[in-house]
């Protein structure tokens, strides 16, 4: 039985980690990270099957996750650390010299939990589909998960991968779009409108469902629903509605906190809205 209150406590703590990490180095991407906190907490604590202690690149017999929009590394690092992939204290090194916690995630420094570098957008879906193909070749019935920004869908490679996955019935993948409607230059609809996103993915041959990414109960429902749709000949896409900056009121409702760090007063304000549930790093 899922203990929702525990997941919510962890989510609150992850939010604190995010704003503290970004504040500490006065750089990084808090907005998208905060919006995806529930998703990451649910994925790593309720949905995916993995062993953090024995992390290895091949991940045979385990579910795999790929972050395509690598700039929201703070939320991933926090959730990975709190899931036991590496010491929680290491969050102190985020974006600093000689750290394994690079500004954008990479395998280069050997951080457990990361299987490919991401940051230059649009590449992660191809990589995730490739990993899913290898799982099929290996007779491995575990799943591949991936997360993508909505602005990232403006990259053409995403649609190459979308076409390939459906045409080849790669049905052991669950991809999710963080549909917060905002990107660096403003609202997505002003910068380059995606049109009918659901219809686009359906037209590309994916099985599409939607969920509210900032409602833990709905995230759990959506991910369970997605899992039940795998193995049926179609790749599965979750369009996840989120609010950029969710959980920190002054960061919500604007694209301006995409890649800006809070100052000391703003940090205090953000932390006052998110209680220290599990202990700060």
């Amino acid at each position: 039985m899922t203990d929702i209150s525990k997941l919510k406590d962890l989510t609150t703590q992850v939010r604190r980690d995010i704003v503290r990490m970004v504040h500490a180095v006065n750089s990084g991407h808090p907005g998208g990270s905060l919006g995806c906190a529930e998703f990451f907490v649910a994925l790593y604590n309720e949905v995916m099957d993995y062993d953090a202690d024995t992390f290895n690149m091949d991940g045979k017999g385990e579910d795999l996750f790929f972050l395509s929009n690598g700039h929201i590394s703070p939320v991933w690092y926090s959730v990975l650390a709190r899931a036991g992939f590496f010491p929680i204290d290491e969050l102190n090194t985020f974006r600093k010299l000689d750290s394994r916690l690079q500004g954008h995630p990479t395998t280069h420094e050997g951080l457990p939990g990361v299987r490919v570098a991401s940051g230059s957008l649009g590449q992660g879906l191809s990589v995730a589909v490739g990993a899913a193909e290898t799982k099929k070749l290996n007779g491995d019935d575990k799943l591949v998960f991936s997360l993508h920004g909505d602005g990232e869908l403006q990259e053409g490679q995403i649609w190459e991968a979308a076409m390939y996955a459906a045409a080849n019935k790669v049905d052991n993948i669950i991809s999710t779009i963080d549909y917060n409607g905002r990107q660096i230059d403003g609202d997505l609809s002003d910068v380059l409108d995606l049109g009918n996103l659901r219809a686009k993915w359906e037209a590309f041959g994916w099985d599409v469902l939607e969920m509210n990414g900032n409602d833990m109960e709905d995230v759990l429902r959506g991910l369970a629903d997605a899992k039940s749709r795998t193995g049926k000949g179609k790749p599965v896409m979750i369009i996840m509605a989120t609010e950029m900056g969710n959980g920190v009121d002054f960061m919500m409702g604007s694209h301006k906190w995409h890649g800006v760090a809070p100052n000391d007063e703003q940090l205090a304000d953000a932390l006052s809205q998110n209680a220290e549930t599990l202990g700060d790093y």
């Binding site: 490919v116 230059s120 590449q123 191809s126 589909v129 490739g130 990993a131 193909e133 490679q157 991968a161």
Partner: protein, 317 residues
């Protein structure tokens, strides 16, 4: 002077195709991806024999590179196949982030490199690929000279852990290296011993350099010919040793002068033993339509150009 027997004329891409098929038979982890150029890359035999390990991506090279990177996760060894232009320039950022920076064990196999692609013209005649690939940290760059060597190189790179760029070509060329040779990555091959000038050649220019050495001998110039099939990591020891012996150097390649083998050799020489150097390469220009032979002549990378470069180099001693 050393003699070389031309066994036949064959395209280097067919050497890749045969090597890939042999690899498929001996290594179940080898998988192949192709972006709608299966026939051109000679990958049909692999596709026919191992359909479950062959992945047709359609005309989507960026996706192909990402798929290949992902397929390494779980232990597969992906070989991607498309033209050299679409293997590098078109997908540089995908290779950079998802393959090179991520340290993925992907073999990027690139056909129709350089001017000898011929009539299709400059859109397809990439002359910058070696430069782009050798700049990527951790990338191995190989440009074999004939059918037999391309086959051997294809087989050898499967045992090398890490990304590799394997470059080969379209036309039939003299096939003169040993059948079933052992291919050692990073090891320059001494073909002709000489005392007056060192010719370091790669790819299709290796045979032309052998022809040049014969012509030079008739002119009283003793040329040493060394096959640099691996441009990165470069066999610096072989370069220095030969350059110190002969006192002047020629590099020869079917590539742009900027960023090619000549650049790599120049770095080694300048740091270790400054030596007069002449480069046979395409000089800061795009190609055009024409037959391979016409293009090699017009753009100054033919046997006659190697001979002339050697004479210039010797004169500078």
């Amino acid at each position: 002077m050393e003699n070389f027997t031309v066994q036949n004329t064959k395209d280097t891409r067919s050497g890749f195709g045969e090597g890939l098929l042999e690899l498929g038979r001996k290594n179940p982890n080898v998988v192949a991806l192709c972006a709608d150029l299966t026939g051109s890359l000679k990958m049909n035999a692999f596709e026919d024999e191992f359909p479950e390990r062959f992945f047709q991506t359609g005309i989507g090279e960026a996706n192909m590179m990402g798929l290949a990177a992902g397929m390494t996760i779980g232990g597969k060894i992906p070989f991607t196949g498309t033209f050299a232009n679409f293997s590098t320039g078109r997908v540089y950022d995908q290779i950079r982030q998802s393959i090179a920076y991520s340290g993925k064990n992907v073999k990027i196999c690139a056909s129709h490199a350089g001017l000898t692609l011929g009539e299709d013209g400059a859109t397809h005649q990439i002359l910058e690929d070696i430069g782009m690939m050798k700049m990527l940290p951790g990338m191995t760059v190989i440009n074999p000279c004939d059918f037999n060597q391309t086959k051997a190189a294809t087989i050898a790179i499967a045992d090398h852990e890490g990304p590799v760029y394997l470059r080969f070509g379209r036309p039939k060329v003299e096939n003169f290296t040993p059948v079933d040779q052992k291919f050692e990555i990073g090891k320059a091959l001494h073909l002709i011993t000489g005392t007056d000038v060192s010719i370091f050649a790669t790819g299709h220019l290796v045979w032309k350099s052998i022809e040049a050495a014969r012509a030079l001998a008739e002119k009283g110039i003793s040329a040493e010919v060394i096959n640099i099939h691996t441009i990165k990591p470069l066999d610096a020891e072989a370069v220095i040793k030969s350059a110190q012996k002969t006192g002047c150097v020629v590099t020869a390649e079917e590539h742009m002068m900027n960023g090619g083998l000549g650049d790599s050799v120049a770095q080694v020489l300048a740091r270790n033993c400054p030596t007069p150097l002449e480069m046979v390469a395409v000089n800061d220009t795009f190609g055009e339509s024409g037959t391979p032979a016409e293009l090699m002549t017009k753009y100054g990378i033919d046997t006659a150009d190697v001979i002339a470069a050697a004479e210039r180099a010797v004169a500078r001693k």
